[in-house]
């Protein structure tokens, strides 16, 4: 059931990118989502991210992220509206609450909350995109060039996690068959039953880890200096995507230093569109970030583009 939230090899263009260019693209999206707070910029980033998710055939799974984000956004809006008093446009005068004083809700606080909710949706969608786009092993492969042991530990953990989850299910079934009712008893009793599960899992995992270590030893692990196997080829598409991502980052940072991409909520809302420069910058950034999507379209629909990238 959870499979759809994780990477599945589908032979799609965006999955064929070199991990360095793919990771750079994701990192640029993430940094911009954290740096910008202008709602139009955040919406633009969301549009690019969702289009990329669609190109990866992941919209169904993203809808779950959307539902979770909308729920969280709603909570943010409520909490922000109740607790922040910086706004001047009061849209609701609430009752007097001891210690807190009068409960006034301002339009600015509501909008700021909604903007934060939008940013949350952006970030969650970017993580969703990362999950669908990059094979975790390829990231580990990239990481192993710099720190092999850390990459190996992560790889083992990534491999063991599903195995341990399935083992835990199996132990729970065994315990149920031996008369343990996990739904019965007080909280303390229930916790005791789960402690037994964890104990068995730990004992079994420790035994298994010895066998894994033995297999690693037999395959010369730790026998001396290692070499590195390069699995991913660097193609023209990677150069294009990497350049476009870095340019998008450069343009966005230039605009950000000029005060573009930011939006002032307090004490009163600023103009949504404040001059042409901001809009030009927005379009420039979105256009550059759309390069992988344009190439993806070309790769799937135009044999000429496919042959060249």
């Amino acid at each position: 059931m959870l499979d759809r939230f994780f990477y599945r090899e589908k032979g799609l263009f965006l999955q064929s990118l070199h991990p360095l260019s793919a990771l750079t693209y994701i990192a640029v999206l993430l940094v911009l989502a954290l740096v910008f707070n202008h709602p139009l910029y955040l919406l633009g980033l969301l549009a690019v991210t969702v289009t990329a998710i669609k190109a990866l055939d992941g919209i169904d799974a993203w809808k779950t992220f959307l539902r979770v984000s909308l729920g969280a956004a709603f909570v943010i809006v409520i909490v922000n509206a109740i607790t922040v008093r910086a706004g001047e446009t009061i849209i609701w005068h609430g009752p007097y609450i001891p210690v807190f004083g009068r409960l006034n809700v301002s339009l600015e606080a509501v909008c700021y909350g909604a903007d934060m909710g939008l940013r949350l949706l952006d970030i969650m969608s970017i993580f969703c995109l990362y999950n669908f786009m990059i094979h975790p092993d390829r990231i580990l492969d990239l990481l192993s060039r710099f720190s092999f042991k850390s990459a190996l530990v992560l790889s083992l953990a990534a491999r063991m996690f599903p195995t341990m989850v399935s083992r835990l299910d199996s132990i729970k079934e065994v315990q149920a068959a031996r008369g343990v009712d996990f739904n019965a008893g007080t909280l303390k009793e229930k916790m005791g039953k789960y402690v037994v599960l964890m104990k068995i899992l730990l004992l079994t995992s420790m035994e298994d880890s010895m066998e894994t270590a033995e297999a690693m030893y037999a395959r010369a692990f730790g026998s001396g200096k290692r070499s590195h196997y390069v699995r991913d080829a660097w193609r023209p598409r990677d150069s294009v995507c990497l350049t476009a991502s870095l340019l998008a980052m450069g343009v966005a940072m230039y605009g950000w230093t000029k005060g573009l991409g930011t939006f002032s909520f307090y004490p009163r809302l600023a103009y949504l569109i404040d001059g042409l420069t901001g809009i030009v910058l927005l379009f420039a950034v979105i256009f550059l970030l759309s390069f992988p999507l344009i190439l993806s379209w070309g790769w799937h629909n135009c044999p000429f583009i496919k042959s060249k990238i």
């Binding site: 790889s155 195995t163 079934e173 031996r178 395959r219 026998s223």
Partner: protein, 556 residues
């Protein structure tokens, strides 16, 4: 110069007073296919670890005597040199895979050897093509089937281009077809590439005939060694169980020449024995059950959350006194079937009724669990108490049953009294299996469900378990087990069910089902096909087949 020369080898594991290997002297020649057989705890795996340099390098312990590899003392060879020359594939593919993707897994050993990139790329491409793994290049290792995982473990070792390949019970978790496929690959490596193969196996009917030489071990020592024919003759004379059924039959029949393959056996059968009127066992009338079934499944469907329909329209009934074996390839739905019967999985559609009642309605969950015992594939999932006795008492306590001597009774039955106060985690694989079984049987369930209970057991342990289960059925219970071991099913089951892709494709008396099947048949069954149909075991063949003429029997 021999490849390996072992002189007076004795080895103790750390903190052990009993030697795992004692006074071993042997020579292994380059290009040889050596089969090492013997019971559990006989020292087979320890010997393999010595040959792979894992003992004492990885395990430590005390070692005496000497092991020479190509004339050099193995202790003087560094870890990388040994890994370059000797590859080892272990029993459980799950525990020997390290990386998350297929390609990275194969590359792991090559990177450890520090090979140049071009060389690694060439070796990976070659080994993937040879083993048919190219399609799975970027697949996650957790997604592979058992057979594919074992093939990947082999690929990861072969890519290192060792001159010696050691295989420690590599097919024990595979279904008969995948196991056959795997052993054919190994045979090709030996014959076509000239790789020295050292194979450790419990299921000898699969590999006895492909070995050049067989070493039989017992108690850490070499008991006998020779060609398959020599070993078969010796074992037949001594009544040793470590020979394939065909050889056991001809040995017990008193022939001097002991065939070790089905083909040779068939030829000898036609020369030395009269064809039977046939269908002896097939003529046995099926048991007509007049009583209410213990468990009934009606139009049961089960789908996992990923949409895979593991059970499709299952209609089955299980009666008291039956020992039912469920056969089928890995992923056919056997384990899901047992879990559904145990009430651990709820069918999406259809009904599972225990003595006429359904769980949650007329039968409470606790009552269901006390009537149905379930033993999963991994006995370690049961063991967490400090002693074997406590393990049994734990189950009784959960069901609120007073011991009343049942713990002693079950321990006697399963020969566990000697381990009563031992920590179950300190026991061998076969003993752990017995403790797990005891912890299930202690409630005396009417229906006992066992998922691959014979995995990792040797011939003697299997025979012991088979007798316990038959005895339990005679007391009015029903046992349903899944297995890849057709020989075990033929010997002990009264009924066989075959599953394929979630469906029941065959259900009937053991002799009928296994005689009709080509791949899921016993060695004796295949040998007697067309000559004396319906015979499945050496004992049946001895009882039915008569010599062509008394003079033709060579001894007895």
């Amino acid at each position: 110069m021999p490849l390996y020369q072992i002189k007076n080898l004795t080895y103790f594991y750390p903190n052990s007073r009993k030697p795992a290997l004692k006074d071993i002297d042997m020579i292994i020649e380059e290009g040889e296919f050596l089969l090492i057989a013997g019971g559990s705890g006989s020292g087979k795996s320890s010997l393999a670890r010595v040959l792979a340099g894992l003992i004492p390098g990885f395990y430590g312990g005390r070692i005496g005597g000497s092991v020479f590899f190509r004339g050099k003392d193995i202790k003087q060879l560094d870890k990388r040199s040994i890994a370059r020359e000797v590859g080892i594939v272990f029993q459980d593919p799950e525990k020997q895979l390290i990386m998350t993707s297929v390609e990275a897994e194969i590359a792991f050993g090559l990177e450890n050897l520090g090979l140049p990139r071009q060389e690694m790329a060439r070796r990976i491409a070659e080994v993937m093509s040879f083993l048919g793994l190219a399609e799975l290049k970027r697949e996650f290792t957790v997604k592979l089937s058992g057979g594919q995982k074992q093939k990947l473990a082999l690929a990861a070792v072969l890519a290192m281009q060792p001159s010696v390949l050691i295989l420690d019970e590599p097919t024990s978790q595979l279904d008969p077809v995948a196991a056959e496929d795997f052993l054919n690959l190994v045979k090709r490596l030996n014959e076509d590439i000239g790789m020295t193969v050292i194979l450790i196996e419990q299921r000898l009917e699969r590999c006895f005939h492909i070995a050049d030489r067989i070493v039989l071990m017992e108690g850490g020592r070499i008991r006998f060694e020779g060609t398959p024919e020599q070993v078969a003759r010796w074992a037949a004379q001594c009544g040793e169980p470590f020979i394939p059924p065909v050889a056991r039959f001809f040995g017990k029949a008193g022939l001097n020449t002991i065939p070790v393959t089905v083909k040779e056996g068939r030829r000898m059968l036609r020369e030395k024995f009269k064809p039977s009127s046939g269908d002896f066992y097939l003529k046995h009338p099926g048991v007509v059950h007049e009583e209410e079934p213990l468990l009934r499944m009606e139009r049961v469907w089960f789908a996992y959350p990923d949409g895979r329909e593991a059970l499709q329209d299952i209609n089955l009934q299980f009666f008291a006194g039956e020992l039912v074996a469920v056969l089928g390839a890995n992923g056919a739905g056997k384990s899901t079937l047992l879990k559904t019967m145990a009430g651990l999985l709820k069918p999406g559609r259809g009904r599972v009724m225990l003595m006429g009642g359904e769980p949650g309605s007329s039968v409470s969950r606790k009552a269901w669990n006390s009537c149905v015992g379930y033993l999963s594939q991994n006995p370690s999932d049961y063991l967490f108490q400090d002693t074997v006795e406590e393990e049994l008492l734990y189950t009784l306590k959960n069901f609120g049953i007073s011991p009343n001597g049942v713990v002693d009774e079950i321990m006697d039955k399963l020969s566990l009294q000697d381990f009563r106060h031992a920590n179950p985690r300190d026991l061998s694989c076969g003993e752990r299996q017995k403790v797990a079984l005891a912890s299930v049987m202690v409630t005396r369930p009417k229906l006992l469900l066992l998922d691959e209970p014979t995995r990792g057991l040797d011939y003697r342990q299997k025979a012991e378990m088979g007798k316990v289960l038959l005895d339990y059925c005679r007391q009015g219970a029903s046992v349903v087990l899944t297995t890849h071991d057709v020989e075990f099913a033929a010997e002990y089951a009264s009924r066989v069910i075959m599953m394929f892709c979630g469906r029941i494709v065959c259900d009937g008396p053991t002799h009928q089902v296994l005689s009709e099947s080509i791949f899921y048949s016993t060695q004796i069954g295949r040998m007697c096909r067309g000559f004396a149909d319906g015979i499945l075991t050496p004992e049946e063949a001895l009882a039915v087949l008569k010599p062509a003429s008394p003079g033709k029997r060579e001894r007895k």
